[in-house]
């Protein structure tokens, strides 16, 4: 089969690999029909995630057709059209049993702090991902779901990560009616967080980024007020001015480890790997939210320490909520929202790259060229 492989920081190519085998009785092998590149993949692509091995196939957002199933699989049949959450999870450990699907304890020997994720380095379990023609799907009876007839492929693939994660980001903000919500980052995750904040009754939604074309999308797609942080000396101060000097009720970090806005922070983390991530957006969130407010962190950080302004968080009495999104737990409600037109996931898709051109796709998405917001990946045989 053809598969994207990592060749070192900023380098990927497409190679021939063996079709994955069933390695456990509850495995399935899925033939990928549509995939996507996520902002998280950029952290791998830039060499920031420890234990990203040469030859690794990335990709945790994909849908496909069941190609083979292991002997204990009961809920799926060969030929089923399935959407697969980005989390790999067992369904039965202490964490899964309580709904923390993104924190499964049975699927990632490499780290106890992190669950399993497709194509996300050995630190997330050492599973090859779905930017390929086929992918191994562990716990086939637990993770995947049949794609409902009414759902489009593009909506389905966005429901494997970006859309549920954005909604989850808003949810972790514990929004109450009339809250002022600031979202840092107008990528796919931030856009869905901003849109979802309204569903939870937000009174104002403010989105901060430095890419005008994405802020434009935040206005049209997510009905938000927007702020380009390069146009303000101090974006935190601007947020205070916007909120009668109290601060926002809720701040959401939808940027993560490669935040811009402070060259030193960016270079020490994204380029030199001396920090687990550039905490610029997280620090802005901590400083822009009001005392007693909530900071929701869905932007991803590496396992090393970062220079977070914890004193401010402590003195302000903040609630900080964070996690990888437990995608499947979000699905039933989000399917309703998609059906009702309250969430329109595929509206943010801007690019579709054939798998063979994925190196170009990574470059364009990483360098944010051509108005890119969400790139999809179309496998050769799809």
């Amino acid at each position: 089969m053809r598969a994207m492989v990592y060749r070192g920081p900023y380098k990927v190519r497409v190679e021939d690999k063996d079709i994955p085998a069933i390695e456990h009785p509850n495995d399935a092998v899925v033939r990928v029909t549509l995939g996507a590149i996520c902002g998280s993949d950029l952290h791998l692509y830039h060499g920031m995630m420890p234990d990203t091995r040469i030859g690794h196939t990335f990709g945790h957002e994909f849908i496909g057709v069941v190609h083979a199933v292991g002997s204990s699989v009961q809920n799926l049949n060969v030929g089923d059209r399935v959407m697969v959450p980005f989390n790999i999870f067992c369904g039965s450990c202490w964490f899964c049993a309580r709904g923390l699907y993104s924190n499964c304890h049975n699927v990632n020997p490499n780290a106890s702090a992190i669950g399993g994720i497709y194509g996300y380095s050995h630190t997330c379990g050492g599973y090859d991902g779905g930017q390929a023609e086929f992918v191994r799907v562990p716990f086939a009876d637990v993770g995947p779901a049949l794609i409902p007839d009414w759902m489009s492929d593009e909506d389905a693939v966005l429901l494997t990560d970006a859309c549920p994660t954005g909604y989850f980001g808003a949810q972790l903000g514990e929004i109450t009616e009339g809250d002022v919500v600031v979202v840092f980052g107008a990528g796919p995750v931030g856009l869905f967080a901003a849109k979802s904040a309204w569903l939870m009754g937000a009174g104002r939604v403010l989105v901060v980024d430095h890419l005008d074309y994405r802020l434009e999308k935040a206005r049209t797609f997510a009905h938000a007020e927007t702020f380009n942080f390069t146009e303000h000396d101090d974006i935190v101060l601007e947020m205070k001015k916007q909120t009668d000097f109290l601060g926002a009720d809720v701040a959401i970090d939808a940027v993560g480890a490669e935040a811009d806005g402070n060259l030193l922070m960016h270079v020490t983390s994204a380029k030199l790997k001396l920090q687990g991530g550039s905490p610029v957006a997280l620090n802005w969130a901590i400083d822009a939210v009001r005392k007693g407010g909530t900071v929701s962190v869905v932007g991803a950080y590496g396992p090393l320490f970062s220079a977070v302004k914890f004193g401010d968080a402590m003195n302000k009495g903040l609630t900080i909520r964070a996690n990888q999104c437990p995608v499947k737990r979000q699905w039933p409600r989000l399917f309703e929202h998609v059906k009702n037109g309250y969430l329109t996931p595929s509206d943010i898709v801007t690019h579709r790259f054939p798998l063979e051109d994925i190196a170009e796709g990574y470059h364009v998405f990483s360098a944010k060229l051509d108005g890119i917001i969400k790139p999809l990946v179309v496998p050769s045989a799809a």
Partner: protein, 195 residues
């Protein structure tokens, strides 16, 4: 926004009423009640075990000694087998897993070092194959031409353009090092032949 002259108990007024918001934004407030939001409460026992028909899954066969965090009691029953540790990078990785918990910076710094060794070695090895690393195709820089590299950046006030200049340095680093190593090896060989 408002002309508040002091810090009072009141929440500053919002520009739009709930009725206005509901009219402007499809679905405004449908998940106002936390009970309607998924993943709420955070810990919520699932009697059906989410489709799992086991309390502890069967164990996947371990075909080679699988490296694992010392913070795990045992090898997890299911694990990835994508790239088994190999060579010097593999040895560094095994050492990091065997010796340091996830709490130790040394664990992660060793893994990052192994990643760099892995990349350099893979690059050198690729030069001996029919499919050597190609810095042009693998970095996707063609995208600069096909996807408006210049006009996407010029006059756009972007904060990331400054450090994008560093990207080629990171990419070229291993190639320069490989060229250096190649020249060194050639010199050594020449020296050996002369003797």
């Amino acid at each position: 926004m408002t002309d508040l002259t002091g810090y009072t108990p009141h929440k500053p007024p919002l520009p739009e009423s709930p009725e206005q918001l509901r009219a402007r934004i499809p679905g405004w407030g449908v998940d106002l009640s936390p009970a309607d939001r998924p993943s709420h409460p955070k810990l919520d026992f699932r009697d059906d075990l989410t489709g799992a028909h086991w309390e502890f899954p069967e164990r996947q066969p371990e075909k080679w000694p699988r490296e694992r965090s010392v913070e795990h009691q045992f090898l997890t029953p299911v694990f990835g087998t994508a790239q088994p540790p190999r060579g010097v990078a593999g040895a560094l990785r095994r050492l990091s897993y065997a010796r340091f918990s996830e709490a130790r910076a040394a664990h992660w710094l060793l893994l990052l070092a192994a990643d760099r060794v892995d990349a350099g070695g893979a690059h050198l090895r690729s030069l001996l194959t029919l499919h050597p690393d190609n810095p042009v195709t693998e970095t996707g820089v063609k995208g600069e031409l096909t996807h408006h590299g210049a006009s996407s950046r010029l006059g756009k006030n972007r904060a990331d353009v400054k450090h994008q200049l560093l990207d080629p340095v990171i990419v070229a680093g291993p190639f320069v090092a490989a060229a250096g190593a190649g020249i060194g090896a050639a010199k050594a060989l020449a020296g050996a032949l002369r003797r």
